[in-house]
Symmetry: C2
Subunit: 130 residues, 2 copies
DNA sequence: CGGTATCCCCTACGATACTG
DNA sequence: CAGTATCGTAGGGGATACCG
């Protein structure tokens, strides 16, 4: 990154640079990833059907997609047992588990502030003239 | 397994959303919200064009949509000055600012672990037979 | 069991105007 | 300046069926 002088303050930057947490949000908070990671962290090693049943509204196609993505990102470990019938188990990786405090932080914020968000919505929606 | 993980909330878990942080993720980490909140938190009060220029790749339509949503959720305060030409300023609310430690936590995780994610991706992609 | 393969729909988003 | 209005599209899921 030695091309740009430090004094060259850009008037605009691409979203990645505009927000340092952009990339990590894409990785951790893309759709379905939080229920999956949460389930694996809370209930430990699970088979495909267990996850499918626990998340309930997810389709097998999407569950596969998200699990592959999480595996590729190193957040989930997939283990295949060549038995009959075949068995596959998913577990959260060490890297994935390192997200636990972050998730706890998020849950804590939710517990303390979600009510305010809901109240704000009610207030906003009852404003006359919208 | 070692009992209850740190991120498990005692509040009843919705069987639909097998994940207590589902709602808060929708509020805080839906598309474009993090760059907007980050910008408002980092650079203070800003007018519409300032945000537009800073985020650069966002269109005015979408910026409006997201700002309205954030306003409705009580994370952003919109102030309209009926001047000629009109002036509108956006600032992060107290509730929105309460997300700052969370964002910092996220940035910290990213700084420490994003490299591992990228390495995991490289490893995964260089596996033969995919 | 643990997935693919297809088809299809919906809507979030982008592009391009235009206005008070 | 601070937005709307309108149109068009891509692709992320859902539903269903099928395979090793």
């Amino acid at each position: 990154m030695a091309g740009k002088p430090a004094w060259a303050t850009p008037t605009s930057v691409d979203p990645e640079n505009a927000c340092p947490i952009g990339p990590v949000v894409d990785i951790v908070f893309s759709r379905w990833t939080t229920p999956i990671l949460w389930s694996l962290n809370e209930h430990g090693r699970q088979r495909f059907v267990e996850l499918e049943r626990r998340i309930a509204t997810i389709t097998p196609k999407v569950l596969t997609q998200r699990l592959r993505q999480l595996e590729r990102d190193g957040l989930v470990v997939r283990t295949y047992y060549p038995e009959v019938p075949p068995r596959v188990e998913y577990e959260i990786s060490e890297l994935g588990r390192s997200l636990a405090p972050l998730f706890a932080h998020l849950a804590e914020w939710a517990a303390g502030n979600l009510g305010q968000v809901e109240q704000a919505r009610r207030d906003y929606d009852t404003q006359p003239g919208r």
